[in-house]
Symmetry: C2
Subunit: 407 residues, 2 copies
Amino acid sequence: MPQQSPLDVPEGDPFGPHNLPYGVFSTAADDRRRVGVRIGGFVLDAGAAAAALGSPFAGLLGQASLNPLLGAGHTAWRDVRRALTAWVTDPGHRPAVEPHLVPLDEVTLHLPYEVADYVDFYASEHHATNVGKMFRPDGDALTPNWKHLPIGYHGRSGTIVVSGTDVVRPSGQRKAPTDPAPVFGPSVKLDIEAEVGFVVGTPSQLGRPVALGDFEEHVFGLFLLNDWSARDIQAWEYVPLGPFLGKSFATSVSAWVTPLEALDAARVAPPARDFPLQPYLDDSDFDRPGGFDLRITVSINGQEVAQPPFATMYWTAAQQLAHMTVNGASLRTGDVFGSGTVSGPEVGQRGSLLELTWNGRDAIELTDGKRTFLEDGDTVTLTAWAPGPDGTRVGLGEVTGRIVGSR
Amino acid sequence: MPQQSPLDVPEGDPFGPHNLPYGVFSTAADDRRRVGVRIGGFVLDAGAAAAALGSPFAGLLGQASLNPLLGAGHTAWRDVRRALTAWVTDPGHRPAVEPHLVPLDEVTLHLPYEVADYVDFYASEHHATNVGKMFRPDGDALTPNWKHLPIGYHGRSGTIVVSGTDVVRPSGQRKAPTDPAPVFGPSVKLDIEAEVGFVVGTPSQLGRPVALGDFEEHVFGLFLLNDWSARDIQAWEYVPLGPFLGKSFATSVSAWVTPLEALDAARVAPPARDFPLQPYLDDSDFDRPGGFDLRITVSINGQEVAQPPFATMYWTAAQQLAHMTVNGASLRTGDVFGSGTVSGPEVGQRGSLLELTWNGRDAIELTDGKRTFLEDGDTVTLTAWAPGPDGTRVGLGEVTGRIVGSR
C-alpha cells in the first residue's frame, strides 16, 4: 500500500483544497518568516514550492508578509489561487510540492500582514440594540443615524496582534455613577467582541470614493477578529469622541486569511433594510449578495458560550468599504476593517460578555465557575466555518488569546 | 568684500542655528527624497553633508524619511543636533557644508515621516467648552470626564498629507434637525482645526505604560497640524462612536519637524488644574513645565483670522502620551498625535471656523467676502513661532492647503 500523501486531505476537512487560506509562518529549524498556505494539517511553504516549480509567483510568495501579494491586485489573487489549487490537487506536482509541506504543529504563526489603518464598525443590529438598551436606557436603543450609515471609528493599528498572543489586562480610569470621582486600576469589566475582519489589498486614490461594486477589486479576504474591550474604561471615556483606551490595548486576529474566492458558496443576502439607502450604499439590485454565512463559536477555556451568526449583520463589508471611502479617504494595502460585534437575535448568539451577562447582571456558568467578565488566566477562542462548494465546509481557523494580570 | 555665505543667517531669522528643523526634500535636478535641515532660506542636504564630513551620522541622515533618525532614540537625536549645529556655525566646516545647501524655493518638500498610528486629542478647555455649548446646549459644556483625562480618539494615518497638498471637499451624509431624512452631497460646513502635532521616535513595549517623565525619551519633535473637519458630516455620524468621515478625508501637517530640544526656552506651565489628577497624569512636581508657548496664526487667503495661543492648553503633550499608553498600548516610531484644536479665551484666539463664526451664525469678513465655512478655492495657512534662546524666535514654518471642489 503506498504511503499516504499529506495532500490526500480527508473528505470533510474544512482546510481542503477548496479553502487554501494564507498565513505567515516560521519554524524552529528556519526562523525566516514566509508565506504559508494551509492544506489539511499542513502548511505549504508557498514561496519555496513556487520556486521549486519554476512558478512566476515565486517572487510574490517568497516574502515575509502577505502585503506584496495583497498589493498585487485582484487578477494576481485569482491566478495565484489557481496555481496553488493545481499544486495541491494535481498528482503530477506532488514530488515538487511535498517537500515544502510542514506539519501545522511544527510552525509558529505570525501576524500575516502589516496593518495600515484599522477601522472598526458596529454593524449588527442586535448588538447595537443590546448595547443601546444598556448604556442609554432612557433613549431609543439605536441612534437615529444607525440604519442610514454603517457607524464606525478608527482603532489602533499598532496593537493588532496575532492569535495566541497573551493579552495583558489593561489599567485605566473608571467611574461608576455612584463613585464621587474616577478611580484608577486594572479593568474589572474586561470583555471580548466576536467579529470578522477584512483586509484591503488594492489601494485607492485620495479624493476618489470606492464604489460598492468594486469591493472584490479591493478586499482580499477575511478572518476572525477579537476586539478586546474594557467596558469600565470605555464607559467613562467614550463621550464625546468615542472608544479609545477601552479598546486600544489589543485586538487579536486569526493567523489565517481566507480569500474571498473561497467563500463564493457562503454569500447570502443581508437582512431586509428598514429605510431606503443613499445610492452609494444601495445594494438592492446587486446580483451577488453582500453578506457571508459564517457560523462563529465563542469559547472560554474550551467551553462554548455563544454561536454568533454573521449572516444576520445589517451592514455588509462592501457597504462598509463604500462608506469608509465616500468622503475621498484613500485605502492602503494592509488596511483592516472589523465588522463590529456579531450578535444574532437569540441570547446564545451574542458576541460579547456585555450582552451575554447583560452588563454583569446575569453571570454565565462555566465548569470552572461563574463569569460576568473575564478573569486572569481565561482563554477566549473564536472559531468559525462557512458553507463551501458541494457541501464542504470552509474553516476560518481560530483566534485565541489568554488574559494575563495587569503589570 | 567677501561673498556672503548662506550660513550667515541674518539676526532675527526664526530659522537660525538655534532652530534646525528636519524635513524631507527633493529637487528638480535630483528627485531622490532625502533628509533636509532648514537653515535660514536654505535646506541642507544633511546626508550628503554628513558624508562629505565623514560623519558617523551619514547613515541615519542619508535616508528617504526621518523614521530611521526617529527610531535611533534620544541620545542619537541630541548628538545629531550637536553635529548639525557645529556644521552650520563653525567656519571651518563651511567649505564642506556649503555645496550641500539648496535654496528653499528650489526644493519640493514631502511628508517627512511614515505615519504609524494617528491619535487626535481635545485638550483646549476653551475649544471643548465652545463646542459643547454649540452641540449640547442643554447640558454642561464640558463632559464630566474632560478634566480627569485627556479625551482623544484615533484618526486615519493614511490620509495625513504634507503642507501644500490640495484638499478635496468631502461628500457625505448630513441631516439638519429639520430634515426628515439624511441628504448626501459635498460638505457645506468644511472647517479647519488649528493644532500642534507631535511625532514619536522611540517605540515602547506592548503592556508597558510610558511614564509622564519619559516624554522626552519617546517624542522627537512637534509641528503644525490642520485637522480639516466637515462639521455637517461629523454632526450626523459622531454619536455614539466618535468622529469618522467628518475627519478622515485629510489631515495636513507641516513639512518641518522642530526637535523638542529647540524649544527649551518655550516651556511654560499649563493652566492650574481644577481637579486632583491621577498619579499617572500628575505633573505638579515636575521641574520642567509641560506646556509650550507657541504663538499660532490662522490665515485664510493670506488674511489673518485668529491667533490661537498653545500655552493655554489644559492637557500637555506629556500627559497625552502617558494617557495614550496607560492601558498598555504600545508606541511605534512614526506615531503622530495632535493636540486638538487650539483656542484661547478670546474670540480672536479660536482655532476653528466653527467657533469663530459660532457654527455659521456670525460670518467673518474677509477682503474677498464673508465666510462662515470654507469655500472652494480658499487657502488656509497656519504659521507659528515660539520664544527661543536669548530673545530669538523659533519658527515652526507653516501648514497650508487649498480647498478644491468635490469630484
